[in-house]
Symmetry: C2
Amino acid sequence: MSDATTRPPEAAKRGRPRLDELTATDVEGIPALETIIGYRLRRAQLYVFQDFIESFTRMKLRPAEFSVLSVMARRPGLKQTEIAEELGIKRANFVALMDSLERRGLAERRKADTDKRSHSLHLTPEGVRFVRKMMAVWTAHEERLVEKLGGPKERDRLIELLDRVVARD
Amino acid sequence: MSDATTRPPEAAKRGRPRLDELTATDVEGIPALETIIGYRLRRAQLYVFQDFIESFTRMKLRPAEFSVLSVMARRPGLKQTEIAEELGIKRANFVALMDSLERRGLAERRKADTDKRSHSLHLTPEGVRFVRKMMAVWTAHEERLVEKLGGPKERDRLIELLDRVVARD
DNA sequence: ATTCGATTGTTATGATACAGAACAATTAAA
DNA sequence: TTTAATTGTTCTGTATCATAACAATCGAAT
């Protein structure tokens, strides 16, 4: 299966590449992009996000906002730096994100009594209702993915492998 | 393992959230981000790209450039639109990318004899040498990942699962 | 109690990635 | 020969992301 010296089917159809060009660029050890972990990860992530984004265009919700609302729902009272750091968002960029959620009446910053510098973040009652709807939409999206993967078992296998990739040891 | 009603360890340490807040935002059916496919995919992809980018800072090569050079090495003679489409890059954005590679003397646009509109893309001899070094660096990067995954078998399993995600059927 | 360093939220700024519209040159189709 | 489609290109706008700086506040060391 040495394909570096084989004319790819598309190019063959079009009569390209010419033989002299082929030898000039016939570099050994060039793997197909399809076998490269990072490339495949990126393409898969792009695909999933595209489906996610389309699912949430009606709710006008972006992935980052989804994750922030999700964290606030499960663990209210965290401060901005904590949520930002956990989600890998620079705290500088978190400000506008939180501003937007607050302007929409979904979340609020409360003055922390113990530390006057920090804010503790919470969903508003409207935010709680919003998150409920949000999770219904998300469930459909997620089930679509699990379906494609072949079932919950495969989903777990995938997440376990992704775990290993990102594990720091 | 119902953790929606359990005080997360960090917040517990800091005495937050207070109980009344907890009940106010205790929304059922809020999955932890760690179980969400898209979220995990994004984090893993970010991690891999970070390692990739660090590996290639010395060569001043970005992921997109890597992929373009890789395609040109394996399949010389393709035209811009073909490579761009295959890699999911808008042909408008491909122009600057190719300009840069050409300015660095790594690749070139040749006037296609059959179609005066299109260019056929090729590595220069210097580009061929560059790609050789590039692949050496990439191999180290990739082996690091395979190591973390637990071996080539696991790498294959991962790619097969990513395949299913992005498969259109 | 005072000084000093660290933290928190914030603003401003720049770089990069990505998408869409429009256009000239060229080709293919009617 | 007119018409429609393609190719490369430029321009433009919009997210995304990182970095630096700053005031307010806190914690710790003296």
